[in-house]
């Protein structure tokens, strides 16, 4: 079930971050503008209750919550991650993110450190869709460079 969330991050004088996470109505195309207005007014009034002039960060969106039961595959381990490295399609600025519980059958059989980009299957499908959907801090498209198996 999707539910709206507002996550407010405030950084104090000592640079310590405090995060408040609040439930809000599920965002839809029909209520988005109205909710965005309520959100902004709420933030203004909430921050007026604090010593800080502005939030260090605000996340606002729907969150899809699914089955929270543990996976039934013992090979599903949080510590086995895909490190996805990309660069900004315009600025070439590098970046990365992680996907936990890596399926290690997707490793390149000739290079056991990396996912098999060019497999014509799951890895390529992921790369294509990541590049279509994700963007960088500069709001540009990403170009996936490498997907590496890391354990941490």
């Amino acid at each position: 079930m999707a539910q709206g969330f507002l996550t407010l991050t405030i950084r104090d004088y000592d640079a310590e971050a405090a995060i408040t996470r609040l439930r809000v109505p599920t965002l839809t195309a029909a209520n988005f503008d109205a909710q965005a207005g309520l959100r902004q007014t709420f933030l203004t009034t909430a921050l007026a209750m604090t010593e800080v002039p502005a939030a260090a960060g605000v996340y606002y969106g729907n969150e899809q919550t699914n089955d929270m039961l543990p996976d039934d595959d013992p090979l599903s381990q949080r510590e086995n991650k895909w490190l996805v490295q990309y660069h900004d399609a315009v600025t070439a600025e590098p970046g990365h993110f992680y996907i936990p519980c890596a399926d290690l059958t997707l490793l390149d059989p000739n290079d056991r450190a990396h996912a098999n980009i060019g497999d014509g299957d799951k890895v390529d499908a992921f790369v294509t869709n990541a590049e279509a959907f994700l963007e960088t801090e500069a709001s540009n498209a990403i170009v996936v460079d490498e997907i590496t198996f890391v354990a941490r």
């Binding site: 640079a15 490190l83 490295q85 890391v150 354990a151 941490r152």
Partner: protein
């Protein structure tokens, strides 16, 4: 107040780099652990500002090298 277990930021990013030789166990999982151990270096939360560089600038200096690290070219020692 600063959080412990963080690295202090230096004053500047040097213009050059240096290569070092590190031997690790010859096993895919050990190698993945080794790569994972490098990852805090590209996370700005791993640093507390002590020098002129910010945590973000320090992490970015390592991020610029991350592709080389993760290429994980195995060479003869």
């Amino acid at each position: 107040m600063t959080t412990s277990n963080r690295y202090n930021t230096p004053d500047s990013v040097p213009s050059g780099t240096v290569c070092v030789r590190i031997e690790i166990p010859d096993d895919a999982e050990f190698q993945a652990i080794f790569r994972g151990a490098l990852l805090p270096l590209v996370d700005s939360d791993s640093y507390t500002q002590a020098g002129s560089l910010t945590p973000e600038e320090t992490a970015a200096a390592f991020e610029a090298l991350l592709s080389q690290w993760m290429a994980f070219e195995i060479v003869d020692c």
